[in-house]
Structures are given as structure tokens and as C-alpha cells.
């Protein structure tokens, strides 16, 4: 006689209290494959944990965003935000789709050059740019976005030294009704600092004021804030034209568009609360078209969206290491991935799906990572089926920031694979090794030997 499928015996208390009227569905569908490739095969071939990137999803998400803006406004250009995910294979998918590069450090700048992005299609943002980095950017005719007056004067000096007239924009910060106001980057609009910077640039005669840039926040849930930002940038651009006879060629609205992840503490899931990319496009382009520019003078709209374009395409596969009961009777499950590689679990309540069949019996549990550190909590409370050691799970929407902010802490970083549009898998970043980690270390002679 064939034996029956086993499940750990479990009981669950039935609560008759008030229910959330919106409900919150338990994940009853296992996620056994990603883009047609079986999760168990991916783990068997590349190990666990494992980051998986869907090339198809990147392209589809990107094309959808481009369509949303280009059907509403004639001049649109996206620039891939390197800091969101700068694995070269990921960057190149965006560049193949037509995206420029947006970088915030010399390291990222050189990465973009190495990926073959022409210098004049790299936007160089950020508060730290060394003389050497700026010289490289000037010689490549890149778009340099000035963050502070020190940088403005640094650029004037360098333009003298190189005998070139760099293309620059200023980053503008402003009150768009969003709290907290991001006023640490760039020049403030309301107190006149931004206009003062514009005047100084034009008066210097050493720099070409090409654009105006802002980045009003992150994970923005209000489309109105972008419309306000467009209005204020447009005001500066119009003043530059009428008072300084300087035509602003582009307005860069930065990024900040949200993904469908659920923020920690949010009452409703992210997918139900975030505005769509079409709604953002509608607010931004409507505001642009109302600025008063004639149709042949409309500025190019640049967008540096990162999270909204890559989060959905990233998955983290992992396995269960152990189960235990906490002192208060709650179930705890220990996974082989933690906050070291899933940095965004500090911000999000990530959706997690089992990768194999299960019964309908579920239990509230804490999900811990493998680190011997108290902070290593992936989900404080999640309702999942009973998972056994070795069971596999899929964490959704992890494409943004995890593969750049991940930490080499206690554990090493795992393999990253990309599934192409034909369903073939490609290793795009190898798992780290002890040799890789230690290759930068040096040992003083007097510490070479010891006896215990």
C-alpha cells in the first residue's frame, strides 16, 4: 500500500475577534517556476540561496514605463539608475532597451563606461566627485549634475584647466508637500539658492547650463508631488530663458517611483495602494505641457527611475534550515538567507511563496535569517504553510537595491542568475569565495605566526 503524503501535525487557535475587512489572502499557490524554469532545478544547479533576474520582466516593465510617458509627451529619455542594481548584465538589458546611464560615483561612472555607454549619455549625479572623476566626465562630454556650490566652483576651475565648457545641470530641492523634504541634495528652490546657482553658472561663461534636475523622494505614493516639482523646475527654466537668455534643454525629474512591494507597517498591500506608472506619467506630462513652452522648445523629459523598473524582475530563492518554537509558543522558521543579502527586508514585508505543494493548513510564524545576530529577521509575522527543513521558498520583488546594498557579513554573497527571454539561465555574478573576500587583506610580518 502506498503511504500517504506527510505533513507536520499542527493545531491553530481560531480567533473570533474583529477581522480586517480588507482581508489578507494567504498564499495558497506554490511558485514552482520562474519564467518556465523550475525553482528546484535552479537551486540544484546554482545553490541556495540564489538571486534570479527575469530579463523578460525587466524588458516588459521598462517598455511599459516608456510607453506610459512617450504616448503623453514627445521627448522622453530614461537613464538607468546604477545604484539600484549595477550588475553589468542588468545594466546592459536597460541599455539595449535605449536607457542612458545615471551614476552617483566615480566607481559607477567607470562601470557605465565599461558597459559601453557613450560618455555623453551618462548623467553624473551625487555629492562626491573628485577632480579626476570630473575631468573624465568633462572630457567625455557627460551631463554633470551639480550638487553644491563647492562643486560649481570646482567645475569652473577645471573648465579653465581643460579649456572646455562642461555640460552641467543643477540639482534642485524643493517643497512638494512631501515629508521628509529631501533638502540635503542640491540647491533649494524656495530660498532662492537654486536661482542664484543658475545665475552664477551663466555669469561664469565657463559652463553650459543644459538642464535642471530634482529627485523629490523615494517610494513616492503621491503623483501630485511630481506635478509640483515640474512646475517649480519649469519656473526656473522659464526665468533662465527670459532673464538670462539661456535655453534649458532638459528637465530631469529623477526617480522615486514606487514598486508594488508592501512597506513595513502598511495596512494594505503595496499592489493595492501605489499609483500606476500611467498615473505618474499623466501628472508629470500634464504639468510639463502647461509650462508655457512652445512645441519646438519643449524640454526633454529625463527620468531616472530605478526601483519601479527592476524590483519585479528580481527573485530570491532560499531554503528552510530549521523550525523551532519560541518561548511564547510562536513558530519560528530559520531560512538560509537573511538581512545580509535581503537588505530590503528592513523596509518591506516581502511576499514569500513556498516553492512546493502544501496543504491548506497555515500558521503565523517569524522568519529568521541564518545570521547569528538578533537583527536578522526577514518577516516579523507571516502566515505560511508548515515548512520543513529543505523546503524551498521564493521571495518576490527583490530586484532593487538588494544586489547593491547587500553585505558581506558572516556569510558570503550568493550566485545571481538571469533567465533570458528564451528561458535559458546565465550566471551573471558568481558566489563569493573565501579567496575573493581575503584578496584585499594584508598581514603584517609580526602577525604571521602564533602558537596556541
Amino acid at each position: 500500500m502506498q503511504k500517504l503524503k506527510y505533513e507536520s501535525p499542527a493545531i491553530q487557535k481560531m480567533n473570533a475577534g474583529l477581522m480586517n475587512k480588507y482581508g489578507s489572502r494567504t498564499e495558497y499557490e506554490p511558485v514552482k517556476q520562474i519564467d518556465g524554469v523550475a525553482v528546484k532545478d535552479l537551486i540544484a544547479q546554482y545553490g541556495s540561496p540564489l538571486f534570479v533576474i527575469s530579463e523578460r520582466t525587466i524588458r516588459r516593465t521598462y517598455q511599459n514605463a516608456v510607453r506610459a510617458f512617450k504616448t503623453r509627451y514627445p521627448k522622453v529619455q530614461f537613464a538607468w539608475s546604477y545604484k539600484t542594481n549595477y550588475i553589468n548584465a542588468v545594466c546592459k538589458v536597460f541599455h539595449q532597451e535605449g536607457s542612458w546611464a545615471e551614476v552617483v560615483s566615480g566607481f559607477e561612472y567607470r562601470k557605465a563606461l565599461g558597459n559601453g555607454v557613450p560618455g555623453n549619455k551618462i548623467i553624473f549625479n551625487g555629492p562626491e566627485k573628485t577632480n579626476e572623476e570630473l575631468k573624465l566626465a568633462i572630457n567625455n562630454d557627460s551631463l554633470i549634475h551639480i550638487d553644491h556650490f563647492e562643486e560649481l566652483y570646482q567645475l569652473i576651475d577645471l573648465s579653465d584647466e581643460l579649456g572646455k565648457k562642461p555640460r552641467v545641470a543643477i540639482r534642485v530641492n524643493m517643497d512638494t508637500g512631501i515629508y521628509p523634504m529631501w533638502d540635503r541634495f542640491g540647491f533649494n528652490y524656495e530660498n532662492g539658492q537654486a536661482w542664484s546657482a543658475i545665475q552664477k553658472i551663466v555669469a561664469s561663461g565657463k559652463l553650459q547650463l543644459t538642464g535642471l534636475h530634482c529627485h523629490i523622494g523615494t517610494f513616492m505614493l503621491s503623483t501630485d508631488a511630481y506635478a509640483i516639482a515640474v512646475k517649480k523646475l519649469g519656473d526656473l527654466a522659464m526665468n533662465a530663458k527670459t532673464q538670462l537668455n539661456t535655453q534649458i534643454q532638459y528637465l530631469d525629474l529623477g526617480g522615486g517611483l514606487p514598486s508594488a512591494n508592501t512597506l513595513r507597517g502598511a495596512y494594505l498591500p503595496g499592489s493595492d495602494t501605489i499609483p500606476s506608472v500611467d498615473e505618474f506619467a499623466e501628472a508629470i506630462t500634464n504639468a510639463l505641457l502647461q509650462l508655457g513652452f512652445s512645441s519646438n522648445e519643449l524640454p526633454l523629459l529625463i527620468l531616472e527611475s530605478g526601483r519601479a523598473l527592476i524590483d519585479d524582475a528580481g527573485y530570491l530563492l532560499g531554503s528552510v534550515l530549521a523550525n523551532k518554537r519560541l518561548s511564547d509558543g510562536r513558530r519560528a522558521t530559520i531560512m538560509d538567507f537573511g538581512v545580509n543579502i535581503l537588505f530590503t527586508s528592513f523596509w518591506y514585508e516581502h511576499k514569500i511563496s513556498p516553492a512546493q505543494d502544501f496543504t491548506h493548513h497555515t500558521e503565523d510564524m517569524v522568519l529568521y535569517g541564518p545570521l547569528c545576530m538578533n537583527i536578522d529577521v526577514v518577516r516579523q509575522s507571516v502566515n505560511l504553510p508548515l515548512l520543513n527543513r529543505g523546503d524551498q521558498v521564493v521571495v518576490h520583488k527583490v530586484g532593487a537595491y538588494n544586489m547593491t546594498q547587500w553585505m558581506q557579513f558572516i556569510q558570503m554573497r550568493p550566485n545571481v542568475v538571469m533567465i533570458d527571454e528564451k528561458g535559458n539561465t546565465h550566471l551573471i555574478r558568481e558566489a563569493e569565495t573565501l579567496e575573493y573576500i581575503e584578496q584585499m587583506e594584508k598581514m603584517p610580518d609580526h602577525l604571521q605566526h602564533f602558537s596556541l
Partner: protein, 80 residues
């Protein structure tokens, strides 16, 4: 391991503790085990039955048994 005598159970896995007013739902295998406990079946016999009926290793069952006993204890369903 003995269930409290006043605990009401059903074959479908519904458990009611009249002492506390709490009710619980058990998954099928837990319902089966509780049913056997209620009939006074010794733990060793229950384990033999589970091993013979389900695809489970002895070590997995041992771990899960400890966990299940703790769940019953936390739920105040066992005689001390």
C-alpha cells in the same frame, strides 16, 4: 501524554476546550493523532501507526512530535 478529559473534538479537526472557551482547528494528521490520544492509545503505538501510514522518517516524526506536544501544552489541552 493525556488529553484533558473534557476536551471536545471532531473528526474534521475541530477542537474545543470548555475550560478556557478556546477553539482550535487541527490539520488532518493532528486530528488523527488527537483522536487516538482521546481513545487512550499509547504514544508509542500512535507513532508506529503514523510511520506505517505516512511517508515520514523516524527522526522527522520525533522532531515533529516534540513540537506538536508543545503546541498541545501551550494550548492547555493536556493533563499535567
Amino acid at each position: 501524554m493525556h488529553l484533558k478529559k473534557n476536551i471536545a473534538t471532531s473528526e474534521s479537526g475541530f477542537i474545543f476546550n470548555p475550560g478556557t472557551g478556546d477553539s482550535y482547528s487541527a490539520n488532518p494528521i493532528a486530528a488523527e493523532i488527537i483522536g487516538m490520544l482521546k481513545e487512550g492509545t499509547p504514544v508509542s503505538s500512535i507513532k508506529v501507526h503514523i510511520m506505517a501510514t505516512y511517508e515520514v522518517s523516524a527522526s522527522q516524526l520525533e522532531k515533529d512530535w516534540d513540537d506538536f506536544s508543545n503546541q498541545l501544552k501551550y494550548a492547555n489541552l493536556l493533563d499535567n
